[in-house]
Symmetry: C2
Subunit: 395 residues, 2 copies
């Protein structure tokens, strides 16, 4: 049983968060966030972008996470500190050194993330000067301030938290995320911080995070682009229930809760895609291999033509069929079946609708593509493509 609760990353006992403005963004908007554990070192698992060009904070966090422990995560928005050369790397190191001193911990326990424009020199001094005030403003109710401070072109802050029951007692899992543009499988320009009070080993924590990300953040696409700075962090402070093994009821409950939080945050990211007006789920069924199912789902979810028609409020299923055929060499037109919001629009090589009777959609769209040639399936979340996307991204 999963129970949704408030307070985001501060939901599990022992976590604090805060967000302030340090002057990177304009007009006093929050742009610097801290999530930390009050006084425990946490076990940590993390996943990063697979882009071969990465932000400086990714280089640092990727190394530190290997140690298995962390205490705090510092995130700024407005500047990605990417392609900033040695100066940008040194700036990130200086910032983590100062934060470590302020919270009386070691540098290696500080993780970093940045999101924003690429290639602009990093405003090191602004962040350094703001750190004391940020630590001062970090407390058990600062979760929304933190979630707001990591936003870039997001239009709303994204938080979720659950409590799951286990035979031994409750486990709480909290999270916050930012997304918006440039979202594509493998977590493009997506930053997410997850917290839990579970007592769980680093290998188990890693395994749970990998599984939860694979069914959530790795299945969302806004524009097919992939960022340099994606990071997902999961901190476990061990104050609560102990999870002994992968086979235990506690692990299963924890994993279920973690998946729920990640799915909810992933859905929020898609709903808040740049210029998005409609939420779309693409389900592929009956594929002859897992690879075929994934390729078909990804091709449809990133088809600009299909996404434009969804913006227009219509299911132009011919564009879905064209994308399906482009994605896999093995599609049989006579077996292909396409169902949109419970209406069968294509079956046995022809349509049930003609253009004059196009299926209109209200807000959300669920397309089921059945290849009828095997047992593999996959799903993805995406959104429509609107003129606003272009206007947001032309500068």
């Amino acid at each position: 049983m999963i129970k949704w609760v408030p307070r985001g990353v501060c939901a599990p006992d022992g976590f604090q968060a805060g967000g302030i403005s340090c002057g990177i963004k304009k007009e006093g908007q929050k742009d610097l966030a801290l999530v930390m554990c009050e006084d425990d070192i946490c076990n940590v698992a993390a996943m990063f972008t697979t882009n071969s060009i990465v932000g400086q904070p990714v280089k640092i966090s990727r190394e530190r996470v290997k140690g298995g422990y962390a205490r705090a995560i510092l995130i700024n928005s407005g500047n990605a500190n990417c392609c900033t050369g040695d100066e940008g790397y040194k700036a990130a190191l200086n910032i983590s050194k100062k934060l470590a001193r302020l919270i009386y911990d070691e540098e290696k326990h500080i993780l970093l993330a940045s999101t924003g424009v690429i290639g602009v020199p990093f405003p090191e001094k602004k962040v350094l000067d703001a750190l004391p005030a940020l630590v001062e403003n970090t407390d058990t109710v600062g979760h929304t301030s933190a979630a707001m401070a990591i936003m870039t072109t997001d239009t709303f802050s994204k938080e979720a938290a659950v409590v799951v029951n286990t035979p031994k007692g409750k486990i709480t899992i909290g999270g916050m995320a930012k997304g918006a543009g440039m979202i594509f499988p493998h977590m493009a320009t997506m930053i997410c911080v997850l917290t839990t009070d579970a007592s769980i080993s680093t290998p188990l924590l890693k395994s749970a995070l990998k599984e939860a990300v694979s069914i959530s953040f790795n299945r969302i696409s806004v524009d097919g682009d992939m960022s340099t700075n994606d990071s997902v962090f999961l901190l476990a402070n061990g104050r609560g229930i102990h999870i002994k093994s992968r086979q235990s009821a506690e692990y299963k409950a924890f994993l279920e809760g973690l998946k729920a939080v990640c799915l909810r945050l992933a859905e929020m990211i898609v709903r808040d895609g740049e210029g998005a007006t409609r939420f779309v789920k693409i389900t592929v069924e009956g594929a002859s291999s897992q690879d075929e199912a994934i390729k078909v789902a990804e091709k449809v979810a990133t088809s600009a033509l299909f996404k434009c028609s969804v913006f227009g409020g219509k299911v132009i299923w011919g564009r879905i069929a064209a994308a399906v055929g482009a994605a896999s060499k093995k599609v049989d037109e006579k077996k292909l079946e396409i169902v949109a919001n419970r209406h069968t629009v294509f079956k046995r090589g022809k349509t049930m609708f003609t253009r004059s009777k196009a299926l209109l959609i209200d807000k959300d769209l669920h397309v089921i593509i059945n290849l009828h040639s095997g047992k593999y399936s996959y799903y993805m979340f995406t959104c429509d493509f609107s003129p606003n996307y272009v206007l947001i991204n032309k500068e």
Copy 2:
């Protein structure tokens, strides 16, 4: 030496063309085109979409081209005759049968192509009824009528023709094409007819076509989508110079001319991309393999974020770097060099420009991406992404 000449597909001696309205499109717009050889059977080479869902005419033409000979190519716009079931297939057969009778030839020498909406029942009767008038209106000056009749969302007709000199005399090559949306490598929703008076065997003709397509139509991208109906045809009527072998000076001159015609038509297609306001060439150099060069060029040419910034008139090179890193796991940020319209914008891990000094572009943009890690290179043509693209494609 290549000399550009007028008259498109009618430029080589012996070819006729025509285009009329048969009522598929609205308001009397031309929608039915014929290109044929006056009274000779031609050697033919052709290439088709690699989509596994294909239009009915593609199924028929693909088979007939295997015979090596063709006399006429009939093309309609406004309806792709794709996903139309057995009725659509039979309609295409009936149409080619009637055309064969009208021009006193065999059905197997008639090739077909269609472009337009997918899945709408094919208006067989309209085409059948219009065939006599079409044949009547096909002559040595009908090339532009034909080029207009194959347009869909194209805003201008696309024709090109050259004369090349060989030691034995002149060879003429003519062509017409349509493109606009859904353009991606492997010739998405692209139809092209090429004609020549060369006397050349089918194997040599195929080889030349493959090479010319690989450096032109397979390197253009408008929106990353791939169509069900792409077809490129090349007819050689043998009235002129004989091309003996691949090593001959005649073959080299012919290939050079064919490439020039294909490149010119490909460039026209990109310039007329749906909603396009700017033409973009992406050149990748110094890649460690041909595959890496192609992947990087394709990723940048299809990056929605990059293309939006080009619409905005700015080179936001960070988006180029992010796309490069996403395309290849082996990119070294410190070696990467990006040059835009002769300005070096990124080198040695950092930029020469900041956002406040973004490189402004006037109309065309040429981006050179040097990975400095090998000897392989590749180029692609694309265009920007405008709000108009979405508005054109929402219905």
